[in-house]
Subunit: 335 residues, 2 copies
DNA sequence: CGCGTTTACGTCGTTCGTAACGATA
DNA sequence: TATCGTTACGAACGACGTAAACGCG
């Protein structure tokens, strides 16, 4: 049994049991893969795949178990290599992040700008998706970091670092009846207006629906979208009142949109950054975390990474002490 | 990087940084090890050891991390081999158990006898030690199973299967004032006698001390020992009243010793069997578990082994439904 | 007959052991 | 000088790629 053989095995599994495809993926010859697989099966004395004629038809139960463990080995080997290139001071590498639209569009740009200046040679990959898609990418070890809001239970086995908290804001066209602060904004007032907000379903956003339900109110949601840009467009059109993340309210929006803080109306949410507990954190990764959330110093991040359970990670942080994110201050009204 | 190189690396670390010793341990030549280590360091671009002259002086921080991950890889590779030999129906292998004296002396003999008949070719290793020593052996992956009573928090990361429960018994010479059941046995009555019992310190036994303390009593412990044989000897000598596990009261003891159940006086304790969560359970291992605790069927054991947390394992079992162990029924009095 | 796997074979690189050398205490 | 690690070298092995054969749809 060699690392090579295990790598081949995993590649075959990842190529739909097509040895030729696995060979291409690994830039090597097909007979080589075939032979090493046979040698591995011979050494182990177990069929890892069922054959139909000469082709591989399915993975045997034994094969599934072996492949799973082989994946772990490959991951750990990758970790060793990664760790080593970090310590030998190499400045190349990749930082792969999966996140939601709000972060990618309104928070990450300036973070990434600073990061690129600091580490110009690091290859950056940004994947945008729903919480579920992010969870998938993380589980498959396709990304280094996941950044999302709420829905922590979707990400078992990750180290989740709280980064900042925020309260939703209400977006209305300038001069809207809700502006001016002459009457107190409550959920029941809000329920009287048509609402435009994020797609429900992800845990973070459905907490909004729950807030209404707890007061026996049924919000009149006339439009849902995945990103704030679309929501703002429809708010401008007068379709309804927007409920968005404060980061989405930029100063240029004050020309035609007024933001009203919804602090107190809905539960405050926490944006966190997560990574696999067994992953190697290269220097540039840790530094990225600090750029994203300054209170997460490199020492703190590394300390959290070594804790065996999320409960212990949580104990490191005082939720009340987390920075509170707001959007453009101008043109924004308090409750 | 090859599995071979990682194996050599771990062997060097385990041989006190002595390459020659590592070579002997691996039945290979010393220059081979030396060269592979150099190749590995070269490929990784990191010094794994600090050199003093030509000798290895210490492990670098990078080396410690790499070695740790190498160990994981070696363990997983071992798991693959083990899994494969099990599935290919090989009847050789080793079962290594770490346990306490009580289990080794009074419970395991008949279990092991049955196991040997079923699997005569399996090599059995039994290590007796304190809870702390057992925890060490398990952590170092030196044993397959740990069997102990109480003190679960000493064994993080293990799958702990509850096997049976038991109540301590009071051992006195025949005709002792405590026999006959003419007066109700209470802790305060017991506190009036000199006591002979197990060494305190292990969590399981100190619960005994706590039971006294909760009633404001200070037990008069005149002698502590690690095993029941010694305790029985001193009880026979009239040194005091013994408090032992019921399994230690054998039928031949009734000639000169009377056992009184202490159910209700002290908390009931649970004996469990534990193994590493990521370990491969070979067929004979699972069958051993069933021999040791019949309610732990092979299916149940394998199911528990796949659960990610101990909490979920615990949820599989109803503590009240666990078998209750008693010693020799004859010559034993109820409270 | 195309697609995919296995077999055959020649080449090349790697590993391994022996032996000699070097350094350190 | 004994101990331990490195260097040198030759033999053997093993991996890889090309080419050809085989089986299946």
């Amino acid at each position: 049994m060699t690392l090579q053989q295990l790598k081949y095995l995993v590649a075959i599994a990842d190529s739909g049991l097509n040895i030729t495809a696995a060979a291409e993926r690994l830039y090597t010859s097909q007979p080589g893969i075939s032979k090493q697989l046979k040698l591995l099966e011979q050494e182990l004395g177990v069929q890892l795949f069922t054959r139909k004629g000469k082709s591989l038809a399915a993975i045997t139960p034994a094969g599934r178990d072996v492949i799973g463990r082989a994946r772990r080995i490959m991951r750990e080997a990758e970790n060793i290599r990664s760790l080593a290139s970090d310590l030998s001071g190499e400045q190349d590498g990749t930082l792969s992040i999966a996140t939601t639209h709000t972060q990618a569009r309104h928070v990450l740009p300036e973070v990434i700008k600073a990061f690129r200046e600091r580490y110009p040679k690091i290859n950056l990959e940004l994947h945008q998706g729903t919480s579920e898609q992010i969870a998938e990418l993380v589980a498959a070890n396709r990304v280094d970091f996941a950044i999302a809001t709420g829905s922590r239970q979707l990400f078992p086995g990750l180290v989740l670092l709280p980064c900042f908290r925020w309260d939703r804001i209400i977006l209305v066209p300038n001069g809207h009846p809700l502006t001016g602060g002459n009457k107190k904004l409550t959920l029941s007032v809000l329920a009287g207006y048509p609402l435009v907000t994020y797609v429900f379903g992800t845990t973070g956003e459905s907490s909004l629906k729950k807030a209404f339900a707890e007061q026996g109110l049924e919000p009149n949601v006339v439009f849902t979208a995945r990103d704030a840009d679309i929501i703002k467009t429809y708010v401008r059109m007068g379709m309804g009142v927007g409920i968005v993340a404060p980061m989405a309210y930029e100063c240029q929006d004050q020309k035609d949109l007024t933001a009203i803080s919804a602090a107190g109306l809905f539960p405050r949410v926490t944006t966190w950054l997560g990574f696999r507990r067994d992953a190697v954190l290269r220097r540039y990764m840790v530094e990225f975390v600090t750029l994203f959330a300054p209170q997460l110093t490199p020492q703190l991040t590394r300390q959290a990474a070594q804790l065996p359970t999320q409960a212990e990670v949580d104990a490191l942080f005082d939720e009340e002490a987390l920075p509170l994110r707001v959007g453009c201050e101008e043109g924004q009204e308090r409750l």
